[in-house]
């Protein structure tokens, strides 16, 4: 456990030192500015539209941050050869993987908190409404969802050679899952036979990230999802993240690191 936290902390330190957080600040500024512009409108529809846009921005940027940081972790360790000094210690490859996962997950958790805090403050100061419970649920769900994405990117980073291609492939995959995934079952119905089964299989295999999306509820002020649904979604997310991490570990364990 100590080892995992040491590794997670190392990941956080690296992100912080690499000045990656500047990107985050810029994104936050954009979100804040966008959200702040609601002050200029009085039309309920436009305000909703702006809020929707802000949340979409948060959604996309955290996805991007997750994919890019997670996909880089292990290839960067191999490339800088720091992995050898590390594995010369009594550390298993599984621990390295889990530590990296934990570090990335905590990092995007912090990013999420920051984004939502700014969003809440700016919109709240205008509307004098503070749906804290709703925000917390939204943050939690999104965080669980990003856990799946991080695990997936780590898995990808072990199987594809270059970190850059891993980020791109993972991001396209995630985008596909978010955009096409939910409609795959309806698409499947319109396909001829072999394709229909394949589409259905894919539909049942992929993690449904859109289930974690409660943006509409925040924008329209609908009732928050029930707590048992959230618990269910968390279990669902943990299961997918677990499977991806397991697959990543199976790959990483056998991977020849080729020193020298």
């Amino acid at each position: 456990m100590k080892t995992l936290f040491a590794l997670a902390r190392l990941t956080l330190t690296e992100l912080y030192r690499r000045k990656d957080f500047y990107v985050l600040f810029i994104l936050t500024a954009v979100v804040t500015l966008a959200a702040g512009s609601v002050n200029f409108f009085n039309d309920e529809k436009i305000i909703r539209y702006v809020k929707d846009l802000c949340l979409l921005l948060i959604w996309i940027s955290t996805l991007l941050i997750s994919v890019v940081t997670a996909a880089r972790q292990i290839p960067a360790e191999c490339e800088a050869r720091t992995i050898f000094s590390l594995l010369a210690k009594p550390v298993t490859r599984g621990q390295v993987l889990l530590g990296k996962f934990l570090g990335c997950w905590l990092a995007v958790g912090l990013a999420l908190l920051m984004f939502y805090a700014f969003f809440a403050i700016v919109t709240g100061s205008h509307e004098h409404r503070w749906p804290l419970g709703g925000y917390l649920q939204a943050i939690w769900l999104q965080w669980v969802m990003l856990g799946i994405v991080i695990a997936m990117s780590l898995l990808g980073s072990i199987h594809f050679a270059a970190p850059s291609s891993t980020s791109t492939i993972c991001f396209v995959l995630v985008a596909g899952i978010v955009v096409v995934g939910p409609h795959l079952n309806t698409i499947a119905l319109q396909q001829p036979q072999p394709l229909q089964t394949i589409a259905y299989t894919v539909y049942f295999l992929i993690p449904h990230l859109e289930w974690f999306d409660v943006r509409d509820r925040l924008v329209y002020g609908w009732a928050s999802p029930a707590w048992q649904d959230i618990a269910l979604a968390s279990v669902y997310g943990a299961a997918y993240a677990g499977v991806f991490l397991l697959l990543a570990w199976l790959g990483f364990r056998r991977k020849s690191l080729n020193p020298g």
Binding site: K2, T3, F5, A6, L7, R9, L10, T13, E14, R17, R18, A80, R81, T82, F84, S85, L86, L87, A88, K89, P90, V91, T92, S256, L257, N258, P259, G260
Partner: protein, 248 residues
């Protein structure tokens, strides 16, 4: 007495990526045995397979056949590395950390308590003379300074066995002397040191026993005095003859 470091018919082949089907054989059935409390020098010309042997001992490269054990534990188990310190041939550390942070990170990996790691970090930074730069990121260090960070991190867990790959490469004469001193002191503390080197003079002065390998094969091993026959002038001569270089 059981061996602390042991390889048995260790064979390592590298499959070539570019030329399918061809393999490079780096080690050909290597047998090594290092006893507790020894300083053991590991010699061989460039490309002889020293680094490969060390990589196999650390579990980085899987043996094609044969086995390697540390403290009687197969090197495939991470626990075999609990009581060793390893210095890589080239410096591979997290460049965004400072020397102190790097040592603290590794101390955490070994599960040391806060007080214990504080104590050891102080001692080690003093030992390798990096105290003045302890709060500067490693990327701003010179090569020799990075090599000394490496030595410090290898000692963080107070290891019983040290595996050093060319510990003095890149160090100035003073730094080399310091490393020799450290090795001697470790020996006095009852530790075992296994190191590869091209500095034969250094090896002659600090090692109890040496092994000479050439093209992945063990050519000679034993006490320096036994390897250097009366007909040789020094270890260098003996070394050159052992690897088949015609000496004048």
């Amino acid at each position: 007495m059981s061996a602390i470091l042991k390889t048995d018919q260790l064979r390592v082949e590298f499959a070539s990526r570019e030329f399918r089907g061809t393999t490079t054989t780096a080690l050909v059935g290597l047998n090594l045995e290092v006893q507790a409390g020894e300083v053991y020098g590991f010699l061989g010309p460039n490309g002889a397979g020293k680094t490969t042997t060390i990589n196999a001992l650390l579990g980085f490269v899987p043996p094609t056949s044969g086995t390697a054990h540390l403290f009687g534990i197969d090197v495939r188990q991470p626990i075999a590395r609990q009581r060793i310190g390893y210095l890589p041939e080239l410096t591979y550390y997290y460049k965004f950390l400072t020397a102190e942070e790097l040592l603290r990170f590794y101390a955490r990996i070994f599960g040391l308590s806060r007080a214990e790691s504080d104590r050891r970090i102080e001692k080690l930074l003093k030992l390798v003379e990096l105290e003045p730069v302890r709060n500067r990121p490693i990327k701003s260090y010179s090569k020799g300074m990075q090599q000394r960070v490496g030595l410090a991190q290898a000692l963080i867990n107070d290891p019983d066995l040290l595996i050093l790959d060319e510990p003095t490469s890149g160090l100035d004469p003073l730094g080399r002397m310091k490393v020799r001193e450290i090795i001697r002191r470790l020996k006095d503390e009852g530790k075992t040191v296994f190191f590869s080197s091209h500095e034969l003079g250094e090896v002659e002065t600090v090692c109890d026993r040496v092994a000479i390998i050439h093209r992945g094969e063990l050519k000679a091993s034993g006490r320096v005095a036994d390897i250097v026959q009366p007909r040789h002038q020094n270890l260098e001569h003996a070394f050159l003859e052992t690897i088949g270089y015609p000496i004048p």
